[in-house]
């Protein structure tokens, strides 16, 4: 019985690692992505894999409250936020490409470097004697966090910055489920509520910036100095 449970855990760990790798690849794809609609869809796909990771950990570690987190991720980040943003893009008629400050190939190299940093930091949390899933997941989580930061600095378009902020938050969610199997239920609910409201608030702001400046290029917001 114990034997099979150990095997199960190993199997679960492999699935989680595989999906965490996909999440990381999608994050790096976002760094180089030039089209805003595709950027939104990559974010949705990334959130979908995150929900799957949460469900896998819930199944193999018998942590039922993670199912709720997985379901909420599906509803909020895979469905609601992308729909909201795609409608926003349509309404604002953004066709232009996103111009990153650092060019594509170089930003992939930087993202790779940040992933290394993620692994180094995650190493200090690794306790071989503690059974559990997601040693790799934590490294990926920290990498997502750092790459999200980098994307925010690297992009000038308002909506891309919001997406980067949300993918950074995805990193936090992954860290939460791999470190502690999620936060207490009520905290989880609070965080999802905040994410949804924040996405709406930022969406409205982006829309109003577009209306006022005829552009979503936030580098034009430079009147307030000193």
């Amino acid at each position: 019985m114990l034997m099979t449970h150990g095997l199960d855990l190993q199997f679960g760990d492999r699935i989680v690692t595989l999906m965490a790798a996909l999440v990381l690849v999608l994050q790096i794809a976002m760094v180089t992505q030039r089209w805003i609609v595709i950027h939104i869809r990559i974010f949705a796909a990334q959130s979908f894999f995150l929900a799957m990771i949460a469900a896998t950990i819930a199944w193999f570690n018998h942590a039922p409250h993670l199912y709720v987190a997985a379901a909420l991720t599906l509803v909020v980040k895979v469905v609601l936020v992308p729909i909201l943003f795609e409608r926003l893009v349509k309404r604002m008629e953004i066709h232009e490409e996103i111009e990153p400050i650092v060019n594509g190939p170089l930003s992939v190299v930087i993202a790779g470097g940040l992933t290394l940093v993620g692994y180094v930091v995650a190493e200090s949390f690794y306790k071989p004697d503690e059974p559990g899933l997601g040693h790799n997941a934590l490294a990926v989580a920290i990498s997502l966090f750092l790459i999200g930061f980098f994307t925010m600095i690297n992009r000038r378009k308002a909506l891309t910055q919001v997406l980067a902020l949300l993918s950074l938050e995805n990193g936090l969610f992954l860290a939460a489920i791999s470190l502690t199997y999620g936060m207490p239920m009520i905290v989880e609910l609070g965080i999802f509520f905040d994410v949804l409201v924040a996405a709406m608030v930022l969406g409205i702001l982006v829309y109003r910036i577009r209306e006022t400046f005829e552009s979503v290029d936030v580098s034009r917001l430079r009147r307030l100095r000193g």
Binding site: S124, Q161, L168, L172, T180, I209, F213, R223, G226
Partner: protein, 496 residues
């Protein structure tokens, strides 16, 4: 019961204002709501003084002297600012700053203000009574979300820019704070019952702080300091602050600069207590001193060369955030007492300054020193006198009470052997003193322009006078219960 009522009243106020059709109804709802909140805050403070701590729902809501003090300050600022905003917004409505009357724009703007302000206050109160660190974080995020549209209130190009900076920098900052909270939860995983909701309760973690995982707590504190430090406006994460404070309507700016600053510091203090009990006071203390002194230092040149008086006040708030964080970093009984006293005095003086700036800004229709030149004293005598007095108070001029608290902090530095900190503290303090006093002195007393004399303004001048009397009275006499509350709050911080 009291804790729940404290949270429900602002929500009810917001709902009433949202549903109200006439301006008068919104004004009454806000005044009554904030009046009730203030009374409940006083009762809560009295209960905490009598019983030590008040908690509810298995410790989900929890208030000790520190929370009671922050709640009392928040409620007082909210009451004064809501009184002030009645006069302020009526003036805006007359001058056409709120848009067209015929198309219903004005009433929509007023509805937004009178609905968002109670929600904003609700989130701050919720933060102060939440025992669970995750819930505390969520409430802090709500403070950003509810106040963003207060910053864009006037819908100008610059206010959109300010709101964007505020939302994005605040969002990134708070994501770090969430990471820190998460790592703290991880640090406590070895404790019994850590999987339950109470596993992230501050009161539980504080009791078992010595058993928390030390490596994790180190990382957690850095993340939380960066995160809530962003909300408190510590350098180098302070850049949103001058923009947001100068673009928001004045009553909202006053709440942001005093009550919200206290709330951000409150979160920092909670984590400081956990970290210092786990790792000793030296590790968090050094980091806090670094950020505190940096904030004080960064604000000096900006105060010295400032052209806009509302931005001057914002940089001044950054300086004071630095002062309070420095006091927290010095720690010990003396530093904590200095911190808590300074929090009380700063809240009164800074909200008063913003309200004065609002009067000047509405009368002269500009925020620039160069356009006003001087003569505030002639055009609006009461505002002029109070403005100058509050400025003297906040730069630490005796006999005003901020001198006492700043002196206590310098003394804590010297006694604790932080000579360099003490010297830098005095040096930066002098720079801000010179810059702020020179600018505001010129503004109030300088050669008088040709601006007309202001009419009487009962709502605004009433709230100015109330705050100004409070400032003068506490310079000489701090009521014994308030002093006791401050002492107990300092005791919570230092544990001594």
């Amino acid at each position: 019961m009291l804790l729940v009522a404290l949270l429900l009243v602002p929500i009810a106020t917001a709902a009433a204002s949202f549903l109200a059709r006439r301006r008068a109804a919104m004004e009454v709802a806000n005044l009554v709501g904030f009046g009730a909140v203030f009374l409940m805050a006083v009762v809560l403070a009295a209960r905490v003084l009598a019983a030590g701590t008040v908690s509810l729902a298995n410790g989900f809501f929890y208030a000790d002297a520190l929370s009671a003090l922050v709640i009392l300050l928040t409620a007082s600022v909210a009451l004064v600012c809501s009184t002030y905003s009645i006069g302020y917004l009526r003036d805006d409505q007359q001058s056409g700053a709120l848009g067209d009357d015929a198309s219903g724009e004005q009433i929509a703007q007023l509805r937004m203000f009178y609905t968002l302000t109670p929600l904003f206050v609700f989130s701050m109160l919720f933060m102060a009574v939440a025992n669970n660190l995750g819930v505390m974080w969520a409430a802090m995020e709500v403070t950003t979300l509810t106040s963003v549209f207060l910053v864009t209130f006037y819908g100008k190009v610059t206010s959109l820019e300010a709101a964007w900076k505020y939302a994005i920098i605040g969002g990134v900052g708070l994501s770090m704070a969430l990471f820190g909270t998460l790592v703290t939860y991880y640090a406590g995983r070895g404790l019994t019952g850590s999987q339950a909701l109470s596993g992230l309760n501050w009161s539980v973690l504080a009791q078992h702080a010595a058993q928390l995982d030390k490596t994790s707590m180190r990382l957690a504190f850095v993340l939380v300091l960066m995160g809530y430090g962003t909300k408190a406006g510590l350098a180098p994460m302070h850049t949103w602050k001058p923009d947001a404070y100068s673009e928001a309507p004045v009553p909202s700016a006053a709440i942001l600069s005093s009550a919200l600053l206290n709330c951000a510091l409150y979160c920092l203090i909670r984590f400081y207590i956990l970290t210092s009990r786990c790792l000793g006071a030296e590790y968090p203390g050094r980091l806090l001193l670094l950020f505190g002194l940096l904030s004080m230092g960064v604000s000096v040149p900006f105060v010295l060369v400032q052209k806009n008086y509302r931005r001057l006040l914002a940089y001044h708030t950054i300086d004071h955030a630095g002062i309070m964080v420095t006091a927290l970093g010095l720690g010990g009984a003396l530093g904590s007492l200095g911190l808590m006293l300074h929090m009380v005095f700063h809240t009164i003086a800074k909200s008063l300054l913003f309200l004065c700036a609002g009067n000047v800004s509405q009368h002269f229709r500009t925020d620039l020193f160069s356009k006003i030149k001087g003569g505030v004293m002639r055009a609006m005598p009461l505002t002029g006198v109070v403005f100058l007095m509050a400025m003297l108070a906040i730069v630490g001029m005796p006999p005003f009470s901020l001198f006492q608290s700043e002196f206590l902090i310098v003394r804590a530095a010297m006694v604790g052997g932080h000579i360099l900190t003490g010297v830098l503290f005095v040096l930066f303090g002098t720079g801000v003193f010179a810059g702020a006093l020179l600018h505001i002195g010129n503004l109030v007393l300088g050669p008088s322009g040709d601006a007309p004399v202001a009419p009487r303004r009962p709502w605004r001048n009433g709230s100015l006078l109330a705050l100004a009397s409070a400032l003068v009275i506490i310079a000489f006499w701090v009521p014994a219960p308030l002093l006791e509350l401050v002492r107990q709050a300092a005791h919570v911080v230092s544990g001594q």
